[in-house]
Each structure stands twice: as C-alpha cells, then as structure tokens.
C-alpha cells in the first residue's frame, strides 16, 4: 500500500468511498472524435473562403463576365458605330471611356472585347485541358514504351515557346477567330498532360489502387472512383492558370498585329490600336490594358488561392 502523499490536493476534492467502484472501459467515450473532421474538399473550400484575395478575385471575375454581356447594353450605340464628330475624345459623361480615332465608343468596345477575349480564352482552355488530360492520362496509364515516346514528343514540342508555335500556325492558317482558338488550344496542353501523367503514375503505384484491384474492381471503376478525384485538384489549379495565359497570348499576338482581323474587337486588338496613339491619347490603351491586367491578376490570385487551399500539406 503506497503513500498517497498529496494530501493537500486530495483535500480539495470531493472524494467518497463509492467513487472508488470499478466501472471499467467506456466504449462510447474513447471512440469520440472531438475535432470536427472535414473531408478534403470541405476543408479546401473552408481554406479558400478564408483567403480574402482569392474570394475577391472570384467576385471580380464574376463582375467582369456579367459586364461583358451587360456593358454594351448600357450605352445606346453598337461597338462599331462611328461618329466622326467625337473623334479621340477623352473620357466624359457621354462616352465613359472616351472614343477612338474613328469616333467609336471605347466603353462599349471594351466590353464587347471582353466577350471575345474571354470566349477565346475559355474555349481554348477547355480544349487544351481536355487534350492534356487525355494525352497525359493515357500515357501514364498505358506506361512503358508508349509513355516514353509520347513524353518525348511533348518534350520536343515544348522546346519551342508556345507563342512561337502559335505565330507559325497563324501564318499558315491565316488570321481569324477560329485560327487563334485552334492555335492556342494546340499549343498549351503539355503542362496539363505532364501533371495528369504524373498523378496517374503515382496513383498506379499506390496501395489503394492495388487494394481496389484485389477486390475485383475493373479499370474503369478504378479510374472514376480513385484516379479522378485525386487528380481533380491539380487539374483545377492548372486550368485556372491556363486562362490568363490564353488571354495573354491573344493580347500579345494582337498587339504585334498577328491577332484578330477587323472588325473583331478583342482586348488585344483594342490595345494595339490604342498603342498607336498612346503617347498622345493614353486612355485608349489604358482601358483595355487595365482590363487585361485586372482579369489576369484575378485569375492568378484565384489560382494561387486554389493551389494553397488544395495543398494537403498546408492544413493547419
């Protein structure tokens, strides 16, 4: 019988003999999980919501998309309406963004341009991503010799900057909306392909795929229930970064005169026209340029936010 020498402490407690009855284990108690357990996606969403910049960017992008449709309707004239009485006027109460050298309202042109630029960016991104996923997925899944060759092809294509490829394609296919979409789509999928392939390879080796296989799951089941949810994260992130890349490429091309022909108005062509008179009428370049920058910025911030919130290592 040992010496319970903490008499002082025990005095403060309300002890009685019946409290020393043995009751044993409490199964309910020890299975209790105290901290709210979140699924991967719930946790990612929570983290994203906390990222004020990312949410702000998201809202900004939604506003821009809405304005692309609503904006032109806010003024009573079309984007190609030329009024020679108001050539090269700075921003005023009638023409909120001013007019260009043909008397066209820049505000309306900017938002029409938004439609075009965003359209190009989104469509080419979707095509890009699809090609990338299929290419990378197949390469990774099939593996072996095929994989090696497919990846070598990607390496070769990627030795040349995409802009260079796009320019070459534009020269061959002639300038036009379809051309630019095709050109951007065809050249941007390498990054996505590599990511998806990497994920597929990783997952192929992981034990739970093995486990699923031993339980009799066939390939398609493995793909949909295991591979896809795990690769969704990097795909989403890459997608978010592809869009500003496409906007940038279109703007670059148009700026050097290789973009869309008249009468298409995209932010890039608007910038190009504005650039000619930039030193005298800076606003004509400023407005489309600001829109380009803000949109790209928003996508980049959103992408950053997504990347941070989807990274399991950053769970606090």
């Amino acid at each position: 019988m040992a010496d319970t020498n903490n008499v002082a402490k025990t005095d403060k407690m309300n002890l009685s003999k019946d409290m020393f009855e043995v009751v044993g284990k409490d199964v309910a108690d020890y299975e209790k999980i105290v901290r709210p357990s979140l699924t991967y996606w719930a946790d990612a969403w929570r983290r994203l919501k906390e990222n004020k910049l990312a949410i702000f960017s998201l809202i900004l992008l939604i506003i821009i998309v809405v304005m692309a449709f609503v904006g032109p309707k806010m003024r009573p004239w079309e984007y190609d309406y030329q009024d020679f009485t108001v050539i090269n006027k700075g921003p005023n109460s009638v023409h909120w963004f001013g007019t260009d050298e043909l008397g066209r309202d820049i505000f309306v042109r900017c938002w029409e341009g938004a439609k075009v630029s965003l359209f190009i960016a989104l469509i080419s991104t979707v095509i890009n991503v699809t090609i990338g996923i299929l290419y990378g997925g197949i390469s990774g899944y099939v593996g072996g010799y095929t994989d090696m060759i497919l990846m070598r092809i990607v390496e070769i294509i990627y030795s040349i900057p995409t802009l260079l490829w796009v320019i070459l394609l534009m020269v061959v296919l002639g300038q036009g909306l379809g051309t630019i979409i095709i050109a951007i789509s065809i050249t941007g999928w390498g990054g996505m392909a590599r990511i998806v392939r990497g994920q597929v390879l990783q997952l192929k080796q992981m034990e739970f795929v093995l486990a699923a296989k031993t339980l009799g799951a066939d390939s398609s089941r493995i793909i949909t229930r295991h591979l896809v949810p795990n690769t969704m994260g990097p795909i989403i992130i890459n997608l978010t970064f592809q869009v500003p890349g496409a906007i940038f490429t279109e703007a670059m091309l148009s700026y050097i005169g290789l973009g869309l022909p008249e009468p298409y108005a995209s932010w890039g062509t608007l910038a190009q026209r504005g650039a000619r008179l930039f030193l005298i009428y800076p606003y004509q370049l400023a407005f489309p340029a600001v829109l380009i920058c803000v949109t790209m910025l928003a996508f980049n911030l959103l992408g950053d936010g997504l990347r941070d919130s989807l990274d399991p290592r950053l769970r606090t």
Partner: protein
C-alpha cells in the same frame, strides 16, 4: 563519371533530334501556305517569275526542296531573304542577334538576380509586411503583359519625366527601359518560385537537423536552405530564356530596336518565308542550346540526378 558521360550523350542526342524535328515541321508548315511570296507583288513577266522560282528552288518537288534546305543548313546557310533582295538570312541574323542577345541576357540577369533576392527575403519573413509586398509584386508582375510595362515606362520615363529615350537604339540609356520591361515579368516569376522553393525547403527535416546542430540562423539559411532551394530555379532558367526570347518580339517592336525579334515580326507580315524559317530555326537552335546547357549544369549541381 560514366554516368555523366551517358547523361551528356543522351542530352546531346535529344537536342539534335529536337532541332531536326523543328526544322522539318517549320519547313513543311511554311510550304503548306497557299500561294507563294510573289503573288502580292506587281505584275512580273512570266520568264522572270520562272527565274525567281528557280532561284528559290520553288519549281522542284517538295522533298527535294527539303533535302536541299537541310543540306544548306548543315553548311550553315539559311538562304536568302525573299523580300530584302541581296540580303541573306544569315546576314540579317548576324546583325540583329547581338542586340537581341544583350537585351535578353540583361533582362534575365535582372530577373534572376532581383527575383531570387526578393524570393529569399519574402520566405524568411513569412507573414510579415515585406512578404506580402513581394507576393503582391510577384502576382502583379506575372499578370501584366510586357507591352503594358513597356507602354507604362515609356509614358512615365519618356514623356512625363523625360529622362529616358522613348525608342530606338544607340546609347546605354536606350537599354534601360526595354530591359526592365522585359525583365519585370521575370523578376515576378522567379521571386515567386524562389519563395515557394524556400518555404518548401524550410519545412524539410534536414533543416531541423541543421538547427539541432546549433548552427546559427544565418548558416542554416545560406548553407542549407538557399543551396537546396535554388535548384528548381536553375531548371527553369533554361525555360525562362525561351520566354525572354519571345517577349523580345514585342519589346523590340515597341521600342523600335533592330534585333531579330523585329525582323521576325516583319517577316511574318511580309510573308518572307525564308526569313521566317531561318529565324524560327535560329531561335529554336538557341533555345535548345540554352536548355541543353542548363540540363548539363543541373546534372553537375544536384548530386541526386547522377544516380538516376
């Protein structure tokens, strides 16, 4: 040692293969364009057309033209420009290259130098004001196209403050704006990568071991963290070079700088095929060379690669 040899050989073969593929693709792409370069010129008498076609070998079957072209390339001859009579593509490249190269190298050095510095500082002061500043700078730099920077600089420094020449070439002062306009995106890109890389490394167990040895913060940062964090940056340097080269098209056009970028853009609008092909192949060759050098360098610098 044997490994380094195998690695070098593999890389060399890949480089040559890639270049050959690019040449072939460019050639067939150019020749798939409908029409020929002479259609937009004034009416040319038939025999002279014939002579012109013969000069450029356009009358022979495509495969033969391809063969001739390859042969010429091996001799180092990229042909004659179709628009600028009496000027060979080689000449034009020779004139323009040093200019473009200088701008490119300075921009890259600026980008890498400042970028790495900012990235390190931001990572070491994570969460504090300077970190946010660098992050914002980085995101903005990456989201703003070069031509916007260029226009901005031109306006602020050229027109408003009038301290720098707005365009053209000649004095050292002419370098400043183009280099910064080109490098701005790089500073941002590299700063961000460096910061991420630093944070990654700081999380690693071996940094904890280094601290457990009693090394000062300074020693841990320099000898362990930065040394390892900088590795991924090295790999993208080769790729960055590609971007710099491309960005230079726009910068040279805006600042009216006589580099190959400007020639390239002109050659496209003028449909000067030999110039287009020549410039493309030249660019490709330079890029492949840069990536090749970086690959080899990386093999030396990261001992883990040697065991691959």
């Amino acid at each position: 040692m044997l490994f380094m040899l195998r690695y070098t050989v593999k890389r060399t073969l890949m480089a040559i293969l890639t270049l050959w593929v690019i040449i072939t693709i460019t050639f067939f792409l150019m020749h798939s364009i409908p029409g020929d370069p002479f259609t937009d010129q004034k009416k040319i008498p038939a025999e002279i057309m014939e002579k012109l076609k013969m000069k450029y070998g356009l009358d022979k079957p495509l495969i033969v033209q391809y063969g001739t072209y390859l042969k010429n390339i091996l001799k180092g001859d990229l042909g004659d420009s179709m628009k600028y009579k009496n000027r060979s593509v080689n000449d034009m490249l020779r004139d323009g290259f040093p200019v473009s190269f200088k701008i490119g190298i300075y921009a890259l050095a600026l980008g890498a130098g400042l970028g790495i510095l900012f990235g390190i500082v931001a990572a070491l002061h994570r969460g504090k004001a300077i970190d946010y500043f660098v992050i914002v700078l980085a995101v903005v730099g990456v989201s703003v196209p070069e031509f916007v920077f260029a226009a901005l600089f031109q306006w602020i420094f050229g027109v408003w403050l009038e301290v720098l020449p707005v365009a053209r070439w000649g004095t050292p002062a002419h370098y400043i704006m183009p280099v910064f306009a080109l490098g701005a995106t790089y500073i941002a890109y590299i700063a961000r990568m460096m910061r991420t890389s630093m944070l990654d490394v700081l999380n690693q167990d071996y940094i904890r071991t280094a601290r457990a040895k009693g090394l000062s913060n300074f020693a841990v940062t320099w000898k362990h963290t930065i040394r390892n964090a900088i590795l991924p940056i090295v790999t993208i340097l080769g790729v960055s070079f590609a971007g710099i080269v491309v960005g230079s098209f726009v910068i040279e056009s805006i600042f009216a700088i006589p580099g190959i970028g400007k020639y390239f853009v002109q050659s496209i609008t003028q449909q000067d095929y030999t110039l287009i092909m020549g410039t493309t192949i030249f660019y490709a060759a330079i890029l492949i060379l840069m990536m090749y050098i970086v690959d080899l360098f990386y093999g030396v610098v990261d001992p883990r690669i040697r065991l691959e």
